[in-house]
């Protein structure tokens, strides 16, 4: 009889302890919501129309766009309590391509804790620490490969198209941004490269404060104003820089500095 009483006590105690342990290991869920980025590419307030020579930039170049593709990464939400929620639980680098609609809607795996947020920012391109050659092997990202001899990793951006040059010829351009190179003398030969320049930059989205409530799904409509790449603070003239700039750090520096205001939030949709 004693034995059975002891055994019963032991079983009850074990159940109690295991229940306590389970309770301790499972923290109560934090109230949170979901965020979706919906990206749109516009020229002068209208959705981008590809392959038509209908645009003129600030330098007066008539141009058309055939492709727009780029990376954004390290998206950060600044809570008003001073904490920062960085998107990285599943993916931290996002590829966007005008011709692949599913890449223009990004639903983050990470849940965003409920609260008041002051702002959103992200890296346009990929930081030096993460931009490793061969980290993408599948299309479409692999097509953004940046040659090892020019700094390696991947293009931050490819805007491809054509412009009407001074002679009136329709000339292709590769408006590319990635790791820049510094060359000895005036030669652009790869053997004369003596340093590399990281051209990624941080974008702070204007008017990006928001309130996240529990189980909310917020969709941010982000717009890239393509014409802004060619102006403010620098006028980018294709006739001056030519169609290929990935080995021209001066031109890429201008593009980088023009990039601060190309993105904006046009709508926030709450569900």
């Amino acid at each position: 009889m004693r034995f059975w009483i002891r055994l019963s006590c032991l079983v009850v105690l074990s159940c109690y302890l295991s229940a306590c342990k389970k309770g301790n290991n499972t923290p109560p869920p934090t109230p949170s919501g979901t965020i979706i980025f919906s990206l749109e590419h516009q020229v002068k307030g209208q959705p981008l129309t590809e392959d038509e020579l209908i645009y003129t930039n600030a330098a007066g170049n008539d141009y058309l766009i055939t492709e727009v593709k780029y990376f954004i990464s390290d998206i950060a939400f600044y809570h008003n309590d001073g904490t920062i929620k960085v998107i990285r639980e599943w993916e931290d680098i996002f590829y966007v391509d005008e011709d692949i609609p599913e890449t223009k809607t990004i639903q983050f795996f990470d849940k965003i804790p409920a609260g008041i947020y002051d702002s959103i920012n992200f890296i346009f391109g990929i930081t030096e620490e993460k931009n490793e050659s061969f980290m993408y092997v599948n299309p479409p990202e692999v097509n953004m490969f940046w040659p090892e001899v020019l700094g390696g990793g991947y293009h931050y951006m490819m805007i491809n198209g054509k412009w009407k040059d001074e002679a009136g010829f329709i000339t292709p351009f590769d408006f590319h941004l990635g790791i820049g190179q510094l060359y000895k003398g005036n030669d652009y030969h790869v053997d004369s490269i003596y340093a590399f320049v990281q051209n990624y930059f941080k974008v702070s989205l204007p008017g990006s404060s928001f309130i996240m409530e529990e189980n909310d799904t917020l969709t941010f409509r982000l717009t890239m104003k393509i014409e802004n790449w060619f102006e403010n603070p620098h006028i980018f003239d294709f006739n001056q820089w030519g169609g290929a700039i990935m080995q021209n750090q001066q031109a890429m520096h201008i593009v980088k500095e023009n990039g601060w205001d190309v993105f904006s939030i046009t709508h926030i949709i709450r569900k």
């Binding site: 061969f134 092997v137 599948n138 692999v142 590769d174 290929a244």
Partner: protein, 714 residues
């Protein structure tokens, strides 16, 4: 041109040997000599007597399949109930037994020789390093019950090759085989010589196989061509009465072996296997026998994607060297009805390999090439030291067998690669040591003259393989994910119970029905690692998975076989088998717009890569005193609808195929076989067949194949 010359020489040699064989066969032997020869040629064999075993075991002799269109062992084994295979190309089908696969199935040679395949994609599973023509006997043991061959988790396949054996007087024998298969224009040629006397004896064999691409029943042609060359030699000595030494060496080479379901093709695979075996019998009244076996095997494996469209932008070449060495000391003691088997064994594996990726880009009119070299394994080592004991005794009419095995396992690697992210160490501490215990207990009771009952319970423990511990970013499993090893994986433990009854009547035939239940703890599966932590390095891989232990899974199933009485002119063999596997809690990732947006738990998710219920019926009739035997076989496989949600495994439709063959043996020196596989050209694929790389389409099985085989023996 060189290739043609080599093939030409090979065929010339083959024809010369056939001529010698025919000359020898018709010229020299009398009937009495032949009779003597047969009697003496019965070398000593381990007589298993299938009915004496308490666990499910199947022994298949060369005679059963030598005339069939068998390209490799894995292909042939799929005919057995609850044995399936993973097809990735035309050859090297990886056996799956009762849902156990890869390293969960131990495949060894001659009861002790082990081979570590070189390919991370398992282009060369163990059975692919040995040609079916060289194998005399295949033993399939289902369950973790036989512990003398090393750690076994779910099943064991022992391939016994032809070893030299003594003759009462000096003799020499030869055999030649030629086989042809339509559809993929496959040819196989094999020659064997053996002989010796009662002191010194030898054998030697060699062959060539060349197959093209096959067409399936859907009229699609798949790039599955391959070429194989192989040779083997053995030398034996009787040192004293009952003391025998045998030395063997085998070479096997695969070249240009195409795998449409893998991201690469095998360019070259070279295998060397050497072994030494000493056997002493009747040492004393108690010591029945002592055996020592030592071996060494090495594999050099090269694969690339140069024949794939993807190589235009990125070329990848992987080279791996794998070495396996070990030995076993085994002794059998018997005192009265008590029989004890004791032993020690050791296995050492070394593996090293690298992947070279070359990316070609044309940018703004200039051409750029970038090269990256990464190791797949870096001086990875695996050591396993084991001790085992097995005790057999008849106890009150019940045959009782108990066995225990202890293993000390240690592994390490020289990797400098580390993966630690957000405080989580994915790949960091490389060394691991485990002490494993396995045991089994079995009984067999003869209930009546015709009816017997067997039951077995066992625990098999398997330390993680060198692949599961240290592989770096290669698509090595069913899904297309790149896999990352986990140096801190825990050993898998299988707790299994089997029960079967056998009804065997001289005039009614034999019916065997058995079932099993298996509970596997620390089951090793792949878990997805977020791309923010690591990205795949193989073209087509959607992400990276890391080998991880899950709490438990279970497998259950049955096998039923009926065989008609062997003394009849007609014969009937009916098989049915199925396995069901379940993971009580699995993680499924929710994908929206091509992105992972969440995860959920799936309750009782079926395990992936479990073959469906299937059955087969085989009928034959013996004409002219067994000289002419036509045979008809029908295989019925149900659809597999129990598929893993967490793996996104597709369902597979059922199918029925039929095959017919005829064997003609006009004399004991020659036999001829011809047949048709897949008579109705049925378009079908097995559930375990992999997908064609870069698509969701599955790799179909070959369509209709006409074949013939000629065998000459002296």
């Amino acid at each position: 041109m060189k290739k043609l010359l080599i093939e030409g020489r090979s065929r010339l040699l083959f024809r010369l040997v056939i001529c010698c064989v025919i000359f020898r066969a018709t010229g020299n032997l009398t009937a009495q000599e032949a009779l003597n020869q047969d009697t003496i040629k019965l070398k000593e064999v381990e007589v298993y007597g299938e009915t004496e075993k308490f666990f499910p075991v199947k022994i298949i002799h060369l005679k059963t399949y030598e005339s069939d269109a068998v390209r490799d062992i894995g292909d042939f084994l799929r005919q057995e109930p609850n044995v399936s295979g993973i097809r990735k190309g035309g050859v090297a089908i990886d056996p799956v037994v009762r849902g156990f696969k890869y390293s969960q199935v131990t495949v060894l040679l001659n009861s002790g020789v082990k081979i570590e395949g070189g390919c991370p994609n398992r282009m060369d599973p163990v059975a692919a390093h040995v040609e079916s023509e060289n194998i005399q006997k295949i033993e399939i043991i289902k369950g973790p019950y036989v512990l003398k061959y090393g750690p076994v988790l779910g099943a064991l396949i022992n391939l016994e090759t032809e070893l030299p054996h003594p003759y009462a007087k000096p003799e020499i024998h030869g055999e030649a085989l030629y086989g042809f298969e339509s559809n993929w224009n496959g040819q196989r040629e094999h020659v064997t010589l053996s002989g010796g006397n009662n002191k010194v004896f030898f054998n030697a064999s060699g062959g060539y196989k060349g197959y093209g691409s096959y067409s399936a029943g859907n009229e699609e042609q798949y790039k599955t061509s391959f070429r194989k060359m192989y040779g083997a030699a053995g030398l034996g000595f009787m040192v004293k009465n009952n003391h025998k030494i045998i030395l063997t060496y085998a070479y096997d080479q695969g070249k240009d072996v195409m795998y449409p379901s893998l991201p690469m093709d095998e360019r070259l695979d070279q295998t060397h296997i050497g072994s030494f075996k000493y056997t002493g019998q009747h040492m004393s009244k108690i010591w029945q026998s002592v055996e020592f076996q030592g071996y060494f095997s090495s594999v050099h494996h090269v694969m690339d994607n140069l024949n794939r469209p993807a190589s235009k932008t990125m070329q990848a070449v992987t080279t791996v060297d794998a070495r396996d060495a070990g030995g076993k000391l085994n002794g059998i003691l018997q005192s009265g009805a008590h029989k004890i088997q004791l032993g020690l064994d050791f296995e050492h594996i070394y593996k090293d390999g690298n992947k070279k990726m070359t990316m070609k880009m044309v940018m703004e009119g200039d051409s750029f090439t970038s090269v990256k070299c990464a190791n797949v394994w870096l001086d990875a080592l695996y050591n396993n030291l084991g001790a085992y004991a097995e005790y057999q005794i008849p106890l009150k009419g019940i045959d009782l067998t108990a066995a225990i095995r202890l293993d000390y396992n240690q592994a390490n690697s020289s990797d400098t690669f580390q993966l630690v992210n957000n405080g989580i160490a994915y790949f960091d501490d490389l060394g691991s040591n485990y002490f494993n215990i396995s045991f089994s207990l079995g009984i067999k009771k003869q209930l009546t003259s015709y009816l017997s009952l067997s039951a077995a319970f066992g625990r098999g423990t398997r330390s993680p393989s060198i692949l599961e511990r240290y592989i770096k970013l290669m698509p090595v499993q069913y899904d297309s994910y790149d896999y990352l090893g986990n140096p801190q994986l825990l050993p898998e433990k299988n707790h299994q119970a089997d029960a079967s009854f056998e009804f065997s009547h001289p005039s009614l035939g034999a019916l065997t029905v058995g079932g099993f239940f298996s509970l596997i703890t620390d089951y090793i599966i792949g878990k997805v690692i977020p791309p923010a932590v690591i990205k795949p390095s193989t073209l087509g891989a959607p992400g990276v998975k890391q080998f991880s232990n899950t709490d438990l899974v279970y497998l259950t199933g049955f096998e039923a076989t009926y065989q008609s009485p062997s003394d009849r002119k007609w014969g009937l063999l009916i098989n049915a088998a199925a396995t069901y596997g379940t993971e009580p809690e699995a993680v499924k990732y929710i994908i929206s717009g091509g992105q992972v947006v969440g995860e959920e738990t799936v309750k009782n998710d079926p395990l992936p890569e479990i073959p469906p219920l299937e059955g087969s019926v085989q009928f034959f009739y013996k004409f002219f005193q067994n000289k002419l035997i036509p045979r008809l076989k029908v295989r019925l496989v149900s659809g597999q609808n129990r598929v893993s949600q967490s793996y996104g495994e597709p369902k597979t439709p059922g199918f029925i195929t039929a095959a017919a063959s005829i064997n003609y043996s006009p004399c004991k020196f020659a036999s001829l076989a011809a047949g048709i596989d897949n008579i109705f050209d049925t378009p079908y694929y097995e559930h375990l067949n992999r997908r064609i790389i870069g698509s969701t389409e599955r790799l179909y099985e070959p369509g209709r194949v006409f074949y013939f085989t000629v065998i000459l023996k002296i």
